[in-house]
Amino acid sequence: MTPLSQLAEGHTATIVAISGGVRLRRRLAALGLLPGAQLRMLRNHGPVIVLLRSDRLILGRGVASKVLVAAAAGAPAPSAAKPS
């Protein structure tokens, strides 16, 4: 389980938990960012941009560090070197 902010560009992961207050969880839920949701990291410099279904979402670094993810089954681990 790693913070989303540490997921490398091009990697896919599943949200495991969100470690913030109610306000953050509600806000993220409205955009579809819930435990179980699968997302792909598109850009990770400054804030992050993730792909969720067909949706691109920008998350500030603070927010991204509160979203805990696990590498999706079959995908390389977030800490693994280059994306294939």
Partner: protein, 703 residues
């Protein structure tokens, strides 16, 4: 455009009310304009500064009032916009709610639709941008989706006007079919339903539900931990302890069973219904809609180019707003000047009539001082509309966020701050690009520290009079940078005091790039521009008359002016006026900062507009026309003040006294005069402290 609210109580009884809901970026505004045409009214929702747009259309002999709700992702109590949207539906009970969704991004957009259905209102789903969804190979079985979600669906392509007539028909038909509320709300997991049912039964025992709190919905919201609903229930039902305990117990049971937090469980339930329905009713070949956008973004927000491109675009906005706007403003100014001359020429009475002076120097100058800003404002709003409609604004926020968040501001705050170098007034209005009220307030409050164009003449006058040419540019740059540093410092300070704890939650969608339409940009520009004129004109007119009176009255006795040259007579008159006397009265207070009564009087005049400081200085020193003969003013200034005093004055003018116009706009945009007053007094105090510190330190060092 109509000025009277369309929702007047005299409305015909057979009139239908439709609320337009939807996510930001779903094309809601475009659809609203297509639905209602030109018959619109812009106002505010009661008690808040959220803009409320209403429009009318006729269908089948019926009049239908369309109310544009703020764009939201959900209906929690998370933001002012969401609360406003929810309150409107609960209390005004519109006959139909139209939810505008982006057809190519259905799952996320349906989250709001499900929440609307929970409220028990009939919902018509406008499946907008249906053409893009088709192009992306996304096939939506609308009839099946209608059955699965219990709502009516109409395909629309708002910017082309497709599907608008069908939508109008569907609205009227749905209202006819569900006269007393919508079909039953969606059902969730049986454990959730059991808790809702039990809480609803308990709520019912406290008497009939208060208005705006339907029983089942209230139970659901209490389970979800909604603070607003909990507060309303406490207020109306007098906080029965049994209810609070029952809610806590129910939440405990659900969290234990699902192993998650309750708000996550409920969001999960809603998405469960959505993805179930979409799996059956939506066929996707491949979502390719973003591919072009992604390729553009590989350049536009890439690590090396993101910032330079952003700065270039901001420079263009700046050039457009002020480069093109200022000459137009100058034209307007000349027009008003000419009108003043023409008025004097045809004036039937004597030339020194007080009425003529009031009309020319008070009313005309006042109205002129507002309209002079109009070209800047219209161009600015046009530029912002292009940036927003094209999808670039989200990119700008992405690029700037890493810098802005260090001082506790949102990425988008950069835009108004940059515009502040031109004029604070449109910059304050540009804070509208920020969604969070806290971000808006902080940005607004520190904006006057960014040196506006109106302060440049003051700097030029004082630097030109007191400092050798080689010093002037570095000193000018130093002043600007000092202002920026103070603004950032103050923003940080406000963030860590007045609005502590609330870290900005930076989460937003990245919409695909779209080509802005001329129609959309013009409409946006016109709406905002008109609002500006209407809101500012009345107040500014009153204030300029007050300032005219203060600088013109009481009149100096004729014999004291007799025989004086014209400029000295004007100086004597100004000294004799209320403003001059106030300048005298303020002198003891301002002397520690290096100001004499003449500078104090000029400062009072500068309150109307920064540019006035130069004119007032030259009048009060009887130095003639500052534009025609700057050298004589410079010489006069050098005789009267030391360079140290000039520095103190420069700093005071940099920090203090947001002009009247800024005060008015801040009050309007923040929704409360207290913010404008806080800004005025806070900045003036800060300016005073800095000026005194510099002047006294300088004197101690015998500069």
């Amino acid at each position: 455009m109509n000025d009277a609210p369309l929702s007047s109580p005299s409305a015909a009884p057979h009139r239908l009310t439709v609320a337009l809901a939807g996510n930001p970026n779903a094309g809601k505004t475009t659809l609203f304009n297509r639905l209602t045409g030109a018959r619109q009214h812009v106002g505010n929702y009661p008690g808040v500064t959220v803009e409320k747009k209403e429009g009318l259309f006729r269908y089948d002999g019926r009049e239908i009032l369309v109310v544009d709700l703020p764009g939201t992702y959900s209906l929690t109590a998370a933001s002012l916009d969401e609360r406003v949207a929810r309150q409107f539906i609960l209390h005004e009970r519109p006959d139909v709610v139209v939810d505008v969704v982006d057809a190519s991004n259905l799952e996320r957009h349906l989250y709001l639709a499900v929440q609307l259905r929970e409220l028990g209102v009939p919902v018509v789903l406008a499946l907008n941008m249906a053409d893009l969804a088709d192009a992306a190979g996304c096939l939506i079985d609308a009839p099946l989706l209608e059955r699965l979600l219990g709502l009516r669906i109409v395909r629309t392509v708002a910017h082309k006007g497709e599907g608008v007539a069908e939508l109008q028909a569907a609205i009227v038909e749905t209202a006819r079919r569900f006269p007393g509320g919508g079909p039953p709300r969606p059902r969730y997991d049986r454990r959730v339903e059991a808790e809702i049912e039990a809480l609803a039964a308990l709520l019912a025992t406290f008497g009939p539900p208060p208005p705006g709190l339907p029983v089942e919905w209230t139970a659901l919201k209490l389970l979800e931990g909604d603070e607003d609903v909990a507060r309303a229930v406490r207020a109306h039902l007098h906080a029965p302890a049994a209810l609070t305990e029952a809610v806590a117990a129910a939440i405990g049971r659900l969290e234990k069973h699902f192993g998650d937090r309750v708000e996550t469980i409920l969001a999960d339930q809603r998405y469960g219904i959505i993805s179930g329905a979409c799996q059956e009713a939506v066929r996707r070949s491949a979502a390719q809609r973003h591919s072009t956008s992604d390729r553009i973004d590989d350049i536009v927000i890439s690590r090396p180019l993101g910032l330079p491109i952003f700065l270039l675009l901001m420079y263009l906005v700046f050039r457009l707003t002020f480069g093109l706007g200022d000459p137009l403003g100058a034209l307007i100014e000349r027009g008003f000047h000419w009108a003043g001359g023409a008025l004097a020429a045809v004036w039937p009475g004597p030339r020194d009539s007080a009425w003529l002076s009031l009309l020319r120097d008070g009313v005309l100058r006042g109205v002129g001082s507002v309209l002079v800003f109009l070209p800047n404002i219209l161009l600015l709003f046009a530029a912002i509309a292009v940036l927003e409609d094209s999808g670039y604004m989200a990119r700008a926020a992405f690029v700037m966020d890493q810098w802005m968040h260090r001082i506790g501001l949102h990425g988008k705050s950069f835009i108004p701050l940059l515009l502040g170098f031109g004029c604070t007034v449109p910059a304050v209005m540009a804070t509208r690009v920020l969604e969070s009220r806290r971000d808006r307030l902080v940005t607004m409050l520190v904006l006057p520290l960014i040196s506006c164009g109106g302060r440049l003449p003051i700097y030029t006058m004082l630097l030109g009079a007191f400092f050798p040419p080689a010093w002037r540019t570095p000193m000018l740059l130093g002043l600007y940078l000092f202002g920026v540093a103070l603004a950032l410092l103050l923003a940080k300070l406000l963030r860590s005091t007045l609005w502590r704890g609330e870290e900005p939650l930076f989460v937003m969608e990245l919409p695909p790039y779209r080509l802005p339409t001329v129609r959309g940009v013009l409409l946006h520009t016109w709406e905002r521009g008109w609002l500006f004129v209407r809101k500012a004109a009345t107040v500014i007119l009153g204030l300029s008359i007050v300032l005219w009176v203060l600088t013109s009255y009481p009149k100096a006795p004729a014999h004291t002016l007799a025989g004086l040259p014209a400029d000295q007579a004007r100086a004597a008159q100004l000294a004799y006026s209320a403003a001059g006397r106030a300048g005298h009265a303020l002198e003891p207070l301002l002397r520690p900062a290096g100001f004499d009564w003449k500078a104090a009087t000029a400062l009072l005049g500068a309150f109307a507009a920064k540019e006035m400081f130069v004119a007032q200085m030259s009048i009060v020193h009887a130095a003639g026309d500052p534009d025609a003969a700057p050298a004589s003013l410079h010489a006069t200034l050098r005789r009267n003040y030391t360079p140290l005093q000039a520095v103190a004055m420069l700093l005071f003018c940099l920090i203090s006294l947001p002009c009247v116009m800024t005060g008015v706009v801040v009050a309007r945009e923040s929704g409360a005069w207290r913010w404008a007053l806080l800004q005025l007094s806070g900045l003036t105090l800060l300016a005073y402290i800095v000026a005194v510190a510099v002047y006294q330190t300088g004197r101690a060092l015998t500069l």
